[in-house]
């Protein structure tokens, strides 16, 4: 089973023609197609992020007067930053102009205030950045792209339980993405990704289209979830009991449970928004007799568990990476497995912590705050267990491990800053400020996306059959890590000092808070460093496709089943279905030996027939 499949063609070359991809039922091809779509969405969402950050770099930069931006402003230190002037020169010039104006008392020269984006464009940019990143990238990212590819392999199965449902899920994803593109092409969306009513039911942008898009994407997500649950229950290899499943599978299983239970609520909520907008039903809009806070309850009842849809698979990936690259058995397998399930279940009970300042009752806030803290415990357990896994290991800093360590660092910050937001009195101050923005980017980007990149590098040889250049890979990881920190750490300070999120223009705040300018500039610099990081990653992986050396079956020395078949795997995954004996342990790595010549690990893991 360890040797390349000589009698069978790998899945990439098994069939030819574009139709063999679009209508394939092979989970591996569906996973690869998801990957392509998700990476494309990631770059689109990233472009919006860069637009936002560039716009915020210096208050009042670039781009001439638009209709929405009234012109005519007196010279003023921050308002008239000329593109070529440094902040310093400008401030001095402005002061000079000021005194001049004071003495002359004559008509002051009008200087148009300049922005990269108009307010409407800015609001659409952050809305679409959020909506694309969440619905098209992060939610499907690890489960649908990596999970689809790896889950059946890890279970020793031939495919997922419902291959046609799997394909339908991808097609729905594409249709949902097309709806989002349609929103983009037909006038945009300016509600924020949260669609808060009554703003969303009164704005003239494309709320209905976007809501339908998210509705469809929700079904895509549900299909994947149903499929994974059935697959885990029914298609484990013979001898693979629940506690012999890799932890990534546990995390995907927990994720799938949330997807199936929570996503319908989002679907119905968005349908209600669309119905209110189209038919005038009074559900959320108080003018029609509705209740806007009801929407927030519905929305967060999905969207908070969705946070765990996003982060749990990332934790699963990291569990795999840390064990493999420490060459050591994962520490506390059961605690990690159960903590995934605990997070999934507790995650349903904490949605109200998004609403401490919404006017919900004090009692509700108290209960939600208490429950919120309960979720932090399983996360803490995982972090300590990962550290304990590294203890006395044989740690190799290959690219995937770099991402795993970056995850520990970044998720550490993201998780710990969650304490500020879960606590009632501090959340009242920090809610809806940049502190929250920084916090969830540390979790979603620093956690999920970094784990996604780690997993992508980890399974890349399996998916493509090519090894990437490890030095370039590590360089990309370092750049993403540094860029991410530079972008988002200053935002903690911005937020706790009082800069609200979703502000098109913070120059009005600068008088009281001159520090906002410098912090925003730092953040923007970080965004461009992050871009460099992503481009490095893209170059590294693209290069491997053309020039990478062929990947061995087991390049990293892992004992999970996907490494026991060829890279890339044959269409049917395993030439002979793996059968596990009593002693099998997906994290027992001592029987694998590294061969310097081939750069691969050989040996059959304990308990594998």
């Amino acid at each position: 089973m360890n040797s390349p499949a000589s009698g069978s063609v790998d899945y990439l070359h098994a069939d030819r023609g574009i139709g063999s991809w679009i209508f394939t039922l092979d989970h591996k091809r569906i996973g690869v197609m998801y990957l392509v779509g998700i990476v494309a969405s990631l770059f689109l969402g990233g472009l919006f992020a860069l637009a936002i950050r560039t716009h915020l770099a210096i208050p009042g930069l670039t781009h001439g007067g638009s209709s929405a931006v009234p012109t005519a402003s007196n010279p003023e230190p921050v308002a008239t930053v000329a593109p070529q002037a440094t902040a310093g020169q400008d401030a001095v010039a402005a002061l000079a102009a000021e005194s001049e104006a004071a003495t002359a008392a004559s008509a002051v020269q009008e200087t148009p205030k300049r922005y990269l984006l108009t307010p409407r464009q800015y609001n659409q940019a952050f809305t679409l950045h959020g909506a694309i990143m969440i619905f098209l990238v992060i939610i499907p990212g690890i489960p649908a792209a990596l999970g689809n590819f790896v889950l059946p392999l890890m279970l020793g199965a031939k495919d997922v339980a419902f291959p046609r449902l799997n394909l339908a899920s991808f097609h729905l994803w594409v249709i949902g993405a097309i709806f989002f593109l349609a929103v983009l092409a037909t006038g945009g969306l300016d509600t924020g990704w949260t669609f808060y009513t009554p703003y969303s039911t009164t704005t003239d942008t494309r709320v209905v289209t976007a809501a339908l898009g998210a509705f469809i994407l929700g079904f895509s997500s549900i299909f994947t979830g149903v499929n994974f649950i059935a697959t885990v229950h029914m298609l484990r290899a013979r001898g693979m009991s629940w506690f012999k499943m890799p932890l990534f599978v546990w995390s995907l299983y927990a994720t799938a449970v949330i997807q199936v239970l929570a996503t319908p609520v989002l679907g119905i909520t968005l349908l209600l928004v669309a119905a209110e907008k189209l038919l005038g039903l009074g559900i959320f809009d108080p003018k029609l007799g509705g209740d806007p806070v009801l929407f927030q309850h519905f929305f967060w009842f999905y969207s908070h568990p969705a946070v765990y849809i996003m982060i749990l698979p990332g934790m699963g990936v990291v569990s795999e990476l840390i064990s493999t690259f420490s060459r050591k058995h994962i520490f506390g397998y059961r605690f990690i497995a159960f903590s995934s399930v605990a997070i999934a279940l507790l995650g349903f009970l904490v949605w109200g912590h998004h609403m401490f300042t919404s006017g919900q009752s004090r009692l509700a806030s108290m209960i939600f705050s208490a429950l919120t803290f309960s979720v932090s415990i399983p996360s803490a357990i995982k972090v300590f267990n990962w550290l304990a896994t590294m203890y006395k290991g044989s740690i190799s800093l290959q690219t995937p491990m770099c991402y795993a360590l970056a995850f520990l660092f970044l998720f550490g910050i993201g998780g710990l800053t969650g304490l500020f937001l879960g606590a009632l009195s501090t959340d009242v101050h920090l809610h809806d400020t940049y502190f929250v923005v920084a916090h969830f980017h540390y979790v979603m980007f620093g956690g999920t996306l970094v784990a996604f990149l780690g997993g992508l590098h980890y399974w890349w040889p399996k998916m493509t059959g090519k090894m990437f250049n490890d030095t370039l890979g590590r360089l990309g990881a370092v750049a993403v890590f540094l860029g991410m920190n530079l972008t988002f750490f200053p935002q903690f300070v911005l937020g706790s000092r009082g800069m609200p999120r979703r502000y098109f223009d913070y120059s009005l705040l600068l008088d009281r808070h001159p520090e906002f300018a410098g912090l925003n500039l730092l953040s923007t610099a970080g965004a461009f460093l992050t871009l460099i990081g992503f481009l490095t990653v893209a170059v590294c992986l693209a290069h491997s496709l053309w020039r990478g050396r062929p990947a061995p079956a087991n390049p990293w020395g892992a004992a999970t089943l996907e490494w026991q078949t060829s890279s890339p795997p044959p269409k049917e995954n395993f030439l002979r279905p793996p059968v596990l004996s009593e002693g099998y342990d997906p994290y027992y790595l001592d029987d694998l030996e590294y061969d310097n010549k081939t750069g691969a690990y050989y040996g059959v893991p304990l308990g594998l027939a």
Binding site: A101, T202, L387, D511
Partner: protein, 465 residues
């Protein structure tokens, strides 16, 4: 929103008067929703900002602005506690990670991991319960502070807050409505809040206070300011295009000053000419957010030269902009939509009484080059000054007077400026010094700390007889 910026320079020119202005807020100072620039200290701050020491000023700690309410310390204490707890655990994670990385990195002599247990239930339970205890502590402290922040004392002074895209209205018990939040120091103040359109959120960082304003229901919050001064008040819940300009100031008055301010602010309609009162209403009622005075296009049409003109509507029809048209446009804006503008304005039916509508119309008239002279006697209330208008003996500085004040009207013709001067004439005849003040009481577009504002509140009402 940028109009706000433009308005600020006027006040900075008169920096010397700022301190006084903040202590003795005048009507002019009250009229502007969204002024946040009063306390600029000028060069030192700018220099610090340039020097890359952006956090070294503005008081407060590295993380938090200066606290200014009785409940702020609950937040600050917990913030610091969590900060140190987080710093400890984060340090622990990073140190362990680094140490393990160094000690246990893979080498030729160290290909295999050492033997180590793959689980240890006692240890794992230990690091389950330690965080559990810590989060219980954090929760308890947070809950305690939250209850304090949410439970208003029964004797609190009550102010109604209304949010509307993209402005704040603060209604005082006298019925006076203002765009800034004026409160007495050392007295609990309860805010009863609602929104006229979408959800807004009242955020006062210095008080560590935030509460949403939800349409269709009341929310409430309270605070007890401990330091006189002005503090930024922001909208924290995204509410559309001008969300980031939905700003106001909290003016915490010195003992005894608040009552004085309220008295003056409540009686402006009686004490001022309709044009001046209209200008104050223009600020207080939030017209300024969407309608410029200088012909600039904002969300809605400019007030400049509207009166007496033929207006084109979206449905193709047109009408003469007379008093009735203006009245209808204020009270029922959707009745006729001006071509090229979105039907965005909320109706003011029931919100403005006849006197206020008349004052606003008089003010709009005064902005018309052709009809400005009619503005002085809209309802025939004010004695007309035939001939006196143009010949009004302006003080030597008269032509430039409006300049610092009426920033956004650079295109204004001198004639119009004179009109305004003359409109004030009856009130301050021959008193040039007063006139100076008079020009600026009309709360310039502007800025809360309009120049000379502080000289006025005393002088103005007294000068009418």
């Amino acid at each position: 929103m940028n109009s706000d910026l433009r308005f600020t320079t006027g006040c900075r020119k008169h920096r010397a008067s700022e301190a006084a202005a903040s202590r003795t807020p005048s009507r002019a100072a009250t009229a502007r929703p969204g002024g946040m620039r009063r306390t600029r200290k000028g060069l030192p701050r700018v220099a610090l900002a340039i020097a890359g020491l952006p956090l070294a000023q503005a008081g407060g700690t590295f993380w938090l602005p200066d606290p200014a309410s009785t409940t702020a310390h609950y937040t600050d204490y917990l913030f610091q506690a969590i900060f140190y707890i987080s710093a400890f655990f984060f340090g622990l994670i990073v140190v362990l990670m680094t140490v393990f990385l160094i000690l246990y990195r893979r080498r030729d002599t160290r290909i295999h991991a050492e033997k180590a247990p793959s689980h240890n239930t006692a240890l794992e339970l230990f690091w389950t319960f330690v965080p559990l205890c810590i989060v219980i502590y954090i929760f308890a402290v947070g809950f305690n502070g939250y209850m304090e922040m949410r439970t208003a004392p029964p004797d609190a002074y009550e102010i109604r807050v209304t949010g509307q895209k993209w402005k704040w209205f603060f209604t005082y018990p006298t019925g006076c409505v203002d765009g800034n939040l004026h409160v007495p120091v050392d007295r609990p103040v309860r805010l009863v809040m609602s929104s006229r359109d979408v959800i807004h959120s009242l955020f006062i960082p210095a008080f560590r206070l935030k509460m949403d304003l939800v349409p269709g229901r009341y929310t409430s919050t309270w605070f007890h300011a401990i330091k006189p001064g002005t503090y930024p008040l922001l909208c924290a819940e995204y509410c559309g295009d001008n969300h980031s300009a939905m700003l106001a100031e909290v003016v915490v008055h010195e003992p005894g000053q608040f009552e004085k301010w309220l008295e003056e602010a409540s009686n402006f309609l009686k004490n001022l000419t309709p044009v001046e009162a209209g200008r104050i209403l223009y600020q207080r009622q939030g017209c300024a957010q969407c309608h410029s005075l200088d012909g600039t296009r904002k969300v809605g049409p400019s007030f400049k030269n509207v009166y007496g003109e033929q207006v084109q509507f979206a449905d193709g029809s047109s009408a003469l902009a007379d008093e009735n048209y203006l009245r209808e446009s204020i009270l029922v804006p959707d009745a006729k939509i001006v071509a090229g503008y979105p039907p965005q304005m909320p109706p003011y039916q029931g919100l403005l009484d006849e006197d206020k509508v008349a004052a606003l119309i008089a003010f709009i008239k005064s902005l018309s080059d052709q009809h400005a002279d009619e503005a002085a006697q809209p309802g025939g209330e004010k004695p007309s000054q035939p001939g006196g208008e143009k010949a009004a003996p302006s003080s030597p500085q008269a032509p430039e007077k409006p300049q610092p004040v009426e920033k956004p009207q650079p295109v204004e013709k001198p004639q119009a400026a004179e009109e305004r001067q003359s409109a004030k004439k009856p009130q301050a005849p021959g008193n040039d010094g007063q006139n100076d003040g008079g020009a600026s009481i009309v709360p310039s577009q502007g800025h809360a700390a309009a120049p000379a504002a502080e000289t006025n509140p005393a002088g103005r009402p007294g000068s009418s007889p």
